[in-house]
Amino acid sequence: MDRVKQMDLAKLSVREVNQFLHHDLSNDDFERIEILNPDGLHNIAAGLDHTVDIMILGHAGYFVAGMNKLAHVTVQGNVGWSVAENIMSGSVRVRGHASACAGSSGHGGLVVIEGHASSRCGISMKGCDIVVGGDVGHFSAFMGQAGTLVVCGDAGPNLGDSLYEATIYVRGKIHSLGADAKEEPMQPADYEQVAHLLTDAAIECDAREFKRIASARRLYHWNADARQEY
């Protein structure tokens, strides 16, 4: 049996491809599934729950590899909004740039954006790890509850606004921190964590160059005296 299967979105609908990936695929059927001509279409390879390697050869649209479980999805191009949103496990790698909300609400697994990620990267992340080779846009990791965002480039305005217990590491400049986000000293465990994630992401950077951003935890409790000013 041919161990690499190609599915062409110029000939098949996204629904047909996804139905195959959801229902007609056993764990060891193919070494890799290649998806051709993604051409910015939405929802490609969303909702997977098999251990399978998916290679998307081109630019993908919104929600690519959304809700991913177990699968390893690579996009050889750019992606639209909400790549790997709500990822549960497995990994999603984007070789190009990602638009807004990359890895949003992700519970687990690893999201790698080799280029830049736009605004709201990792918004409301709940335990996944996100490694961005370039910059992230404004309000990244907004309300991040758990997990780690590693930014090898710069971060845009309001980084980590209303952060819960997600941790952010930034190598470059931070335009501004959001409400209740603060820079904290890097501890040995932080360097270890960053180095570990960079290795997993196969992105070459020196973990010693990163800063740590975490929640100041002042928004956790209502403070009448603060008069809404935090």
């Binding site: 051409d39 630019h59 639209g80 909004w81 740039h97 605004s119």
Partner: protein
């Protein structure tokens, strides 16, 4: 891109400019049975000026050397039911209700030629679905704008402009933005300066794509809630809400594809 906005669509194309003093007056009629040749004959009889007219259904382009204000006065007296869609030496515009694919076919978009064009498919959120509410919006001469988003203070912007004698055709928020920018340019600002002014005057969400006789200009609001993607090659620049509408352009595989950052003004000159 019909799925992004299935209720109406429009396109403004900027053609090789006419020599002064000629202008194109794009006209719209609510009456599909309008006799456009009769409109031209009325114009020539009433004004003593020469005119040519091309038409397609409810749209026509009347070309004449008449002064813009004189034309508006004539139209108001002679054909008050006709609307001006666009005025200028370059711009030609079509917009209507219906599925974008149908509109493109009806008005022969594939036959239009020009240096640059701005098109829009609309999913109405806050004002009526009508041909007049479809984008692009125009103001002044050879200026048009399409908008993804919604402005939250269009009425205060509008009241401010109406006090200065600027008239509105619809209750649409985009029209307020369009007329605001055109007013600032008439007051002497460049389009870039007008956009900078709009950052403090227009409240709400917007990705604006604008065109003048020789330029395309793109800007997103500070939060960049509305999408945009740009593909640049040595031969062209193409801008869209989503990559999927650029995916089949020639050479796009090697194009420089990027997402515009908030509040940065991007401009391309023909």
């Amino acid at each position: 891109m019909g799925t992004r906005g299935p209720d109406s669509a429009g396109l403004a194309v900027f053609r090789r400019p006419l020599d002064a003093p000629d202008r194109r007056f794009g006209l719209y009629s609510n009456d599909p049975g309008v006799d456009w040749q009769a409109v031209r004959e009325d114009f020539q009889r009433d004004t003593g000026g020469e005119a040519t007219i091309r038409f397609k259904e409810t749209h026509s382009v009347l070309t004449s050397s008449i002064d813009v204000d004189d034309f508006k006065r004539w139209l108001m007296l002679s054909h008050p039911n006709l609307h001006i869609l666009a005025v200028g030496r370059s711009i030609e515009m079509y917009k209507d209700e219906g599925l974008p694919g149908d509109i493109a076919q009806r008005y022969g978009f594939d036959q239009l030629m020009g240096t640059h064009a701005v098109a829009h498919t609309r999913m109405a959120t806050e004002s009526a679905v009508s041909p007049a509410h479809a984008h692009p919006y125009t103001a002044g001469e050879d200026f048009c704008l399409v908008h993804n988003g919604s402005l939250s203070n269009p009425y205060s912007v509008r009241r401010k402009l109406e006090r200065r004698g600027i008239e509105f055709e619809t209750d649409n928020d985009t029209e307020a933005g369009c007329r605001f920018l055109e007013w600032r340019m008439r007051e002497g600002e460049t389009l870039e300066q007008a956009i900078e002014t709009s950052f403090t005057e227009l409240d709400g969400f917007f990705t604006f794509l604008m065109a003048t006789a020789d330029r395309l200009v793109l800007v997103r609001d500070a939060f960049a809630c509305k999408p945009a993607v740009v593909a640049e090659t040595d031969d062209y620049v193409a801008i869209s809400s989503e990559f999927r509408s650029l995916a089949h352009l020639p050479g796009v595989a090697t194009a420089r594809v990027f997402e515009p950052v908030p509040e940065q003004i991007y401009s391309w000159t023909v």
